[in-house]
């Protein structure tokens, strides 16, 4: 295991993050605050409690998940797409490193960044609503796993993408709708029965439900299923990345 290489990639990527620290942290903080103002205070004040929780508090787990997923994807996809775009990927390919080391470096850094953003949003949310986290360890586990799996997914998108447009299209067309329809802002039980069934095909539902359970002790789907879903997603991403490096897909001729 080339530990120096993993460290070099990780530090290099984190430096890029810290170079733009203000932008990196400010935008999620501002957008979260806006969500709270709009959904929490303006609309939320007219909504009764959802499953025994005030609406403002109810949307916190969903908001964190929304940011962490999109940040994980954009950080990791950009991290590996940029070297391909400017040509510095030659160095990665000619270095004595294997795919696991490259992935650990890039995905590790992207996951760290999104984890930091998730924590910042959690702290921001604390200013607006009273948060009482019932299962802190489970909360952390769900958060870290989501950061990791979506950074892995972003890494795949970054390798697949051949233009900046393609880099944007999956998060925009797939992830955002899935997250919005995944129960970030509502409980599935509020939906008509047919939609309740359809929603169960949305993988994001399981993540948000599990994450919300760690906060409030209530879930739309069983927690075990949520854990299984995120483990399965991580596994699929890892397998895809392994395949990518074995075949050299879009990185090697």
């Amino acid at each position: 295991m080339n530990l120096y290489a993993i460290g070099a990639i990780y530090i290099y990527e984190m430096k890029r993050f810290f170079r733009t620290l203000m932008e990196s942290l400010l935008s999620p903080v501002i957008s979260t605050s806006l969500y709270f103002v709009v959904f929490g205070s303006a609309i939320g004040s007219r909504i009764d409690q959802v499953e025994g929780v005030t609406y403002g508090a109810f949307i916190v787990p969903g908001l964190i998940m929304l940011s962490v997923m999109t940040q994980g994807i954009s950080n990791a996809s950009f991290g590996i797409y940029f070297p391909k775009f400017i040509g510095t990927v030659y160095e990665l390919l000619s270095a004595p490193v294997n795919f696991l080391e490259i992935v650990l470096g890039y995905v590790g850094a992207a996951a760290t960044k999104s984890l930091m953003i998730g924590v910042v949003i959690l702290l921001t949310a604390g200013f607006f609503v009273d948060l009482d986290i019932q299962h802190p360890l489970a909360m952390l586990a769900f958060l870290v796993l989501t950061c990791l799996s979506f950074s892995l997914f972003g890494f795949i998108i970054g390798i697949w993408a051949q233009s900046f447009q393609q880099l944007q299209i999956i998060p925009l067309l797939v992830i955002t709708p899935l997250v919005f329809l995944g129960g970030s802002f509502y409980s599935i039980s509020m939906l008509p029965p047919i939609w309740q069934t359809l929603t169960l095909f949305n993988p994001v539902v399981y993540l948000i439900s599990g994450f919300r359970w760690s906060f409030f002790g209530q879930a739309d789907v069983p927690v075990g299923l949520s854990l299984l879903a995120i483990a399965g997603f991580t596994g699929i991403c890892l397998a895809l990345i392994w395949l990518i490096f074995r075949t050299g897909y879009r990185i090697k001729e």
Binding site: N2, Y4, A5, K15, R16, R19, T88, P96, E253
Partner: protein, 310 residues
Amino acid sequence: MSSIVEVQGLRKVYDDGFEALKGVDLSIHKGEILALLGPNGAGKTTLISTLCGITTPTGGSASVGGHDIIGGYRAARAMIGLVPQEVALEPFEKVINTVRFSRGLFGKKQDDALVERTLRQLSLWDKRHNQTKELSGGMKRRVLIAKALIHEPQVLFLDEPTAGVDVELRRDMWQVVEELRAQGVTIILTTHYIEEAEAIADRVAVINKGEILLVQDKATLMQQMGRKSLRIELAEPITAVPEALSEYELELSDDGQSVTYHYDTRGQSGTGITRLMQALAQAGLHLRDIHTRQSSLEEIFVGLVREGAA
């Protein structure tokens, strides 16, 4: 002499069916400077990319320091430094950080003294805190060299290192190459500039259309293949070469002031110069001056590539 890079029957066929390497055999000696000469699209970069792990070979095998480039890729690549043809650098990163990154990537512990020494050697020390995008084209190329050298490779591939570089920097780079050779680093250099190969290489390999046409000691190559020419300036201009001299195939200059005779130093029956002189005297031509000239590597190269095309 022991070899450090061994290439056997290396083939590369790209997805579009283009065969960039058609079974290349090459043995590179430890500590030498080998110039890989060839026209555009000859396969120079593909050969280097394949040895460095950027391109996957279709067939054949290659090893660096005895380590197979596929099976023993870690050990093989750790020995290699690569300076690519295209300048590719992360624009917002500082010079010193990007160099440190390269060392880490190649699995070496950070060594600040070495970083300083390398940056100073390449006149980059003053620029170490600049972002790479602030540097001139020549400076960026130096950064690429620093990145390639920072993990102390034993084999250095320089892919057109002096393309588009001014004369001063080119001389600087030759200097650096000389110093590296003195440290025992094996250097493989692809170039368009024949004068570059002529100036610094020990051996020359000519590649065209994915095949190595020849690998030879530079001096031997020039001696063996070097055709020489003898230009004879005449006291009185002539309009045509006298019939009696036709066997020498003299070339008459446009102004009729001189004739040129081509000969081969390898010739079994001598160069023919003595007989020519006598024949000239017999033909009644008076000489004013004579010049001999050895053909350059460039002419040899053009001749070879043309021969290969025919």
